[in-house]
C-alpha cells in the first residue's frame, strides 16, 4: 500500500511540476509566447479589452471622486453599447463601465462584491441581455481569469466555482506569467473595437443596415442572483437600476416578478442602422443610445 501511494503521489507531483515547467517555458519563450499561447491555451485577450478595462477600474475606484459614482455592470452589450463619457456629461455622475464578455448575473454579483469592497457607489446600472442571463458563467470566468488584472482572490473564487481543467491551467499560467515577468499580450484587433477608456469599447464595425427578421416578443423571466444583487446594493447604499438591453430579434416582455425593481426599457431603439449585429451597436448607435439612456436614467432617479 505504501509503495502504491508513494508511487501515486510521486507521479502526481511530477505531473504537476511538469505542467508548471511547461507553462513557465511558454511564458519565457518571448517571441514565441504568443504563438504557443494561441495554439495551446487559446489566447483571448482581444475579447473586449478586459485587461485594460479591469486595470483601469482599479485605478478609477481608488481615485477620490468629487461627484457621486455610478457603475455599469453586465456583458458585452453593456461595454459596447453604453458610453460612460456621455453619461458623465449628462447625468453629473462619475461613471465606469465594469462589464465584461459573456458576464451573467452570477459573475456580476461577484464583481459587485469586489467593487463594493473598494468603495461606495451611488448607482448600479445592471445591463440585462436576456441570452446572457441564461449562461453559466464559464466563458466570463475564462475571460476574467486569463484576460484581466482581477485580484488573485477573486480569480481563485472563480476557478473554484467553475471546476474545469482548462480554466485551472489558465489560472496557473496567469500567475506564472506574472512571476516570470512575461509581458502581457494584448492583441489590438481594430475590427474588434477601440478602447475609449472608462471601460467603454467603441465597435468599429459597419452597421448591418438590412435586417429582415421580424422582431418577436420574448418573456424575460427573473434570473438567479438578481435578489442577491439587489440585497448587496441595498446593504451598500446603492440604488440598483436594471437596463434591458435592446435587441433586433426580440422585444422583451417583463414578467410580473420584476415589479419591485426600477427598470429602464429600450424597446424603441431598434433601427438596424445603429447595430452591427442583432444586439451590439456601432459607435454612432452606442452614442445615441447612451444619450437616450441618460435621459431615462435621470427620469428614474428624480
Amino acid at each position: 500500500m505504501r509503495k502504491f501511494l508513494f508511487r501515486l503521489f510521486q507521479l502526481g507531483f511530477f505531473f504537476f511540476i511538469s505542467i508548471i515547467v511547461g507553462l513557465t517555458l511558454i511564458a519565457l519563450s518571448t517571441n514565441w509566447t504568443l504563438k504557443i499561447e494561441q495554439k495551446t491555451l487559446g489566447h483571448q485577450t482581444h475579447w473586449g479589452s478586459s485587461w485594460e478595462r479591469i486595470s483601469e477600474f482599479e485605478i478609477w475606484v481608488n481615485q477620490k471622486s468629487s461627484k457621486p459614482r455610478g457603475l455599469i455592470i453586465g456583458s458585452s452589450t453593456a461595454y459596447r453599447n453604453i458610453n460612460p463619457h456621455i453619461l458623465d456629461q449628462t447625468t453629473d455622475l462619475n461613471w465606469f463601465n465594469y462589464a465584461s464578455s459573456g458576464q451573467p448575473p452570477i459573475i456580476s454579483l461577484q464583481l459587485l462584491k469586489h467593487a463594493f469592497s473598494k468603495d461606495k457607489f451611488d448607482y448600479i446600472l445592471l445591463d440585462i441581455y436576456e441570452p446572457v442571463t441564461q449562461l453559466d458563467g464559464l466563458e466570463s470566468a475564462h475571460d476574467l481569469i486569463y484576460n484581466s488584472t482581477l485580484d488573485w482572490w477573486n480569480k481563485t473564487k472563480l476557478v473554484c466555482s467553475y471546476p474545469q481543467g482548462k480554466l485551472w491551467l489558465r489560472y496557473f499560467y496567469f500567475f506564472i506569467k506574472q512571476l516570470v515577468a512575461s509581458k502581457p499580450h494584448i492583441i489590438l484587433d481594430p475590427k474588434n473595437g477601440t478602447y475609449l477608456k472608462k471601460g467603454f469599447v467603441c465597435s468599429n464595425q459597419p452597421s448591418i443596415s438590412q435586417w429582415n427578421k421580424k422582431q418577436t416578443n420574448k418573456a424575460l423571466n427573473r434570473f438567479a442572483s438578481l435578489s442577491e444583487i439587489d440585497a448587496l446594493c441595498k446593504t451598500n447604499g446603492a440604488k440598483l437600476i436594471l437596463n434591458i438591453s435592446p435587441s433586433l430579434e426580440h422585444k422583451y416582455i417583463l414578467q410580473e416578478n420584476f415589479k419591485e425593481y426600477s427598470i429602464i426599457s429600450n424597446d424603441e431603439f431598434n433601427n438596424p442602422d445603429w447595430f452591427y449585429d442583432s444586439h451590439h451597436m456601432t459607435c454612432e448607435g452606442a452614442n445615441l443610445y447612451s444619450h437616450r439612456l441618460s435621459s431615462k436614467f435621470k427620469a428614474k432617479i428624480k
Binding site: L11, F14, F15, Q164, G165, K166
Partner: protein, 473 residues
C-alpha cells in the same frame, strides 16, 4: 455522479482511504462502506430513485431464499415473482409509454381514438443493469448454480457496487459474490493495473468520445443540411464515439473495482478487430451478450434443437437485446440488422470460426483478415445509424441522405474524427492481446511520457463533462 467529473475525483480517494486505512481488517465494515458509498454515488445523480434500487434489491434478496426451496413448485413461484418484479419495474419505467403509444396508434389505425395516460417520469439511471443483476442471481439459485446469500449487505453490494451500478458490466453472482464475501488484500500490481485502466478509460471517454460527439451531434440532429461524405463520416464517427464512450466507462469501472480488490467481468475485447459479426458479439458488451445467452438463448433451446429453432432463438435474443437498449423501434431494427448479419454465419456453421485474437503474435493482419475486419466494421457502423438516430424515421432519412446528398454544401472537416478514431484503433491494436492488463512500454521515460500526455489531455477536457451514452439504458 459521473466518472468524468471532479466530484468523482474527490469521492474516490475518500472511499479508498476509508476502505484500506480505517476498515482494513473488518470485511463487514468494508462492505458496509462500499454499500453506503454506492448509494451515495447513485443518490448524487438521483436520490429519488434510491428507494427503487433498495426495493428491487430487497425483493430479489428474499426471492433468493424462495427459489432455493426444495419444493420445486414453490421455487418456481418465487422465480416468476422475481421475473415479474424485475421486468415489471422495467416495464413501468422504461417501456410503459412505448407500449401505450403503440397500442394507441394501433387502435387509431382501425378507427378508435383514445387519449392514453402517459408517465412523465425520468428513466432511473442504471435500471436495466441492476434489475439484470437481481434476475441473474435468482436464476442462478433456481438452477442450483448459486446458494442464497444470508448477509443482506453482501447481496446489496453485489447489486449496487458503485463502479458497475449505472452501466455495468452486468455481473454474475457466481463471479462477484465470492469476492464480496472474501477478505480482500491490497495488491500493488492490481491497484496499478486499476489506475492504468482508469487513465485509459478516461482518455477514451473524455478526449476521444466527447470530442467526436461535439462534431457529429449537430450532424445527426440536422442531417438534411449535410452532404453525403459528411454523413458517412459522421456515421463512422459515431462508431468510434460509442466505443470510446462505453468501453471507456467499462475500463474506468474495472479499474475502480481493482482499486478495491475486486475483479469485474470484461465488457469489451477490441470489438472493431472482429472478422465477422459473431466475433463482434463475443467482443462487444460481453456481459450483456453472455447474459442473454445464458438466461434466454440457452433456456429457449439454444442451438441444440435443430436449425429452425436455432434461427428463431438467434432472432429473439438480438431483438430483445435491441429492445433492452431502448423503448423505440430503431433499437429493435438495430437488433434485427445484427441478427441478419449473424444468420449466414449460423446457417453456414461459421459462427464459432474466429475465436482467437486477430494477427496473434504478428504486427499486422493479413490482407484477408484486414478485408474481413473492414467489412465487419462497415456493417456494424451501418447498424449504429439506427442506434444513434432519434427514431426510425430519422435513421432511414439519414441513410437515404448518405446516398442522395451529393452536393458541395454542408461539408465539414472530418480531421478530428479521422485523427481521434485512428489514435483509438492504433492503441487498441497495440493492446489487443489482453484487455484487462494494459500493455505498457517497458522503457520508463516513454511510459511516463505516455501517462503524462494522457493525463494532460484529460485535464484539458475535464469540466465540460458529458454523460455516458449507456447511462440512458
Amino acid at each position: 455522479m459521473l466518472f468524468n467529473s471532479f466530484e468523482f475525483f474527490g469521492f474516490l480517494p475518500i472511499v479508498f482511504a476509508l476502505y484500506w486505512f480505517v476498515f482494513q481488517r473488518k470485511i463487514v465494515l468494508q462492505n458496509l462502506l462500499i454499500l453506503l458509498a454506492s448509494y451515495f454515488f447513485y443518490g448524487w445523480w438521483s436520490w429519488q430513485f434510491m428507494g427503487l434500487l433498495l426495493l428491487s434489491t430487497t425483493l430479489d434478496y428474499f426471492y433468493g431464499f424462495g427459489v432455493s426451496s426444495s419444493n420445486k413448485k414453490k421455487a418456481k413461484v418465487f422465480l416468476w415473482l422475481s421475473i415479474f418484479n424485475n421486468l415489471g419495474i422495467l416495464a413501468i419505467f422504461k417501456y410503459y409509454n412505448f407500449f401505450v403509444t403503440q397500442f394507441q396508434e394501433g387502435l387509431e389505425l382501425i378507427g378508435f381514438h383514445t387519449n392514453p395516460v402517459l408517465l412523465n417520469v425520468a428513466l432511473p439511471v442504471g435500471i436495466s443493469f441492476y434489475t439484470f443483476h437481481g434476475m441473474s442471481y435468482v436464476f442462478d439459485i433456481y438452477r442450483n448454480h448459486q446458494r442464497p446469500v444470508k448477509n443482506f449487505i453482501d447481496y446489496a453490494v453485489f447489486v449496487s457496487f458503485f463502479p458497475l451500478l449505472v452501466a455495468g458490466p452486468i455481473e454474475r453472482a457466481g463471479h462477484l459474490l465470492p469476492q464480496v464475501q472474501k477478505a480482500r488484500k491490497f495488491s500493488y500490481q492490481q491497484a496499478l493495473e486499476g489506475c492504468r485502466l482508469i487513465l485509459w478509460g478516461l482518455f477514451k471517454k473524455v478526449v476521444i468520445a466527447d470530442a467526436i460527439a461535439q462534431v457529429i451531434d449537430p450532424i445527426f440532429t440536422n442531417y438534411i443540411d449535410y452532404n453525403s461524405p459528411t454523413l458517412f463520416l459522421a456515421a463512422i464517427g459515431f462508431a468510434f464515439q460509442i466505443y470510446g464512450d462505453f468501453s471507456g466507462y467499462s475500463d474506468i469501472a474495472l479499474g475502480t473495482a481493482k482499486l478495491f480488490g475486486f475483479e469485474l467481468l470484461s465488457n469489451f475485447r477490441f470489438p472493431y478487430f472482429s472478422r465477422d459479426i459473431a466475433e463482434f458479439w463475443r467482443r462487444w458488451h460481453i456481459s450483456l451478450s453472455s447474459w442473454f445467452k445464458d438466461y434466454l438463448y440457452i433456456p429457449l433451446g439454444g442451438s441444440r434443437q435443430g436449425l429452425s429453432k436455432s434461427v428463431r432463438n438467434t432472432f429473439i435474443i438480438f431483438l430483445v437485446s435491441g429492445f433492452w437498449h431502448g423503448a423505440s423501434w430503431n433499437f429493435i431494427v438495430w437488433g434485427f440488422i445484427h441478427a441478419c448479419g449473424f444468420l449466414p454465419l449460423l446457417l453456414l456453421k461459421r459462427n464459432r470460426k474466429n475465436t482467437d485474437t486477430v494477427a496473434l503474435n504478428k504486427h499486422l493482419p493479413s490482407l484477408k483478415e484486414l478485408r474481413q475486419m473492414i467489412l465487419t466494421f462497415v456493417f456494424v457502423t451501418f447498424a449504429w445509424i439506427f442506434f444513434r438516430a432519434e427514431n426510425l424515421e430519422n435513421a432511414i432519412g439519414f441513410i437515404s441522405c448518405i446516398f442522395t446528398n451529393w452536393t458541395q454544401l454542408g461539408m465539414i472537416s472530418g480531421k478530428s474524427i479521422v485523427v481521434l478514431g485512428s489514435i483509438l484503433l492504433l492503441i487498441d491494436w497495440y493492446l489487443r492481446h489482453n484487455e484487462r492488463q494494459l500493455r505498457v512500454p517497458t522503457w520508463q521515460p516513454l511510459r511516463m511520457a505516455i501517462y503524462f500526455s494522457f493525463a494532460l489531455a484529460i485535464w484539458l477536457k475535464l469540466g465540460g463533462e458529458q454523460t455516458f451514452i449507456y447511462f440512458q439504458f
